[in-house]
């Protein structure tokens, strides 16, 4: 039986799409901020959010701390 914390495969594909859309929106916002000379702190915040999303959802950081060695 699959653990409750692990999403099913179609869910994983859908989650990948959602994360990608979110990343694309953030990239577009970054471009707007950069080309309109808005405060650069916003760019740092967006970069950190984007990196966090990729590390958590695409790189599956939590897998590195798992006791059981299985693919999701």
């Amino acid at each position: 039986m699959e653990p409750k914390t692990s999403p099913s495969r179609p869910d994983e594909l859908r989650r990948g799409v959602l994360v990608f859309v979110f990343l694309a929106i953030l990239t577009a916002i970054e471009y707007f901020i950069g080309t309109h000379e808005l405060p650069s702190i916003l760019l740092w915040v967006i970069a950190l959010v984007k990196a966090g999303l990729v590390i958590w959802y695409f790189m599956h950081l939590k897998r590195a701390f798992r006791e059981e060695g299985e693919h999701e």
Partner: protein, 193 residues
């Protein structure tokens, strides 16, 4: 008197190796991140609130290409984890092509469009060192993808056993994470020189 023999631990099981390999990969990624972090610090130390004079739209295009490649890399990993070999092969192939597209955009277009060379002061040193080192990682990532594609075509991976795919995917996403910081640092933050 006979010494008590301890029970054998399953140290060579796939699950055990998978756990240790994951930790090893993350340690490698961490060490590589320090190098890229050093380059990022160098950029702000040398250029401050100025940025290299680059075409911001080209920057957006290459960033988008790398972002889309990360999306397909994720799909490739999900597909192999559900035993969908065809989906895995297709997504890996698209990821590779997008990686090559990114290289063409940075090296083939941006390096040619730049009004300065690697030896033209701090902006040349910063720009070519950052993009060059990153491009080198993209090239190694594409080679890594070519290896898992070849092995995938030979049917070496299954839903239960595909560590190499997971490693290649993590490496590829790491290269994307690095560019997430390099993109604003090179193209968006500060006034153009």
């Amino acid at each position: 008197m006979s010494a008590e023999v301890p029970a054998l631990k399953p140290t060579h099981s796939y699950a055990y190796k998978l756990r240790t390999q994951r930790i090893g990969l993350w340690l490698f990624i961490l060490s590589d991140a320090f190098m890229f972090g050093g380059l990022l610090v160098t950029r702000f130390y040398l250029l401050g609130n100025r940025r290299p004079d680059l075409d911001q739209f080209v920057g957006l295009i290459v960033t988008s290409v790398l972002l889309i490649s990360s999306f397909f890399m994720n799909r490739a990993e999900v597909h192999i984890s559900q035993g969908n070999r065809r989906g895995f092969i297709l997504s890996t192939l698209i990821t590779m092509l997008l990686g090559l597209g990114f290289l063409a955009g940075v090296i083939g277009v941006e390096w040619r469009l730049a009004h300065f060379g690697p030896a033209d002061g701090p902006q040349g040193a910063v720009f070519y060192m950052m993009t060059g080192m990153h491009a080198f990682h993209v090239i190694t990532g594409v080679i890594f993808l070519a290896i898992i594609l070849r092995n995938g075509l030979k049917g070496h991976y299954s839903a239960e056993r595909h560590w190499a795919v997971e490693a290649a995917a993590n490496y590829w996403h790491f290269v994307d994470v690095v560019w997430i910081f390099f993109y604003p640092a090179l193209y968006l933050i500060g006034m153009a020189l």
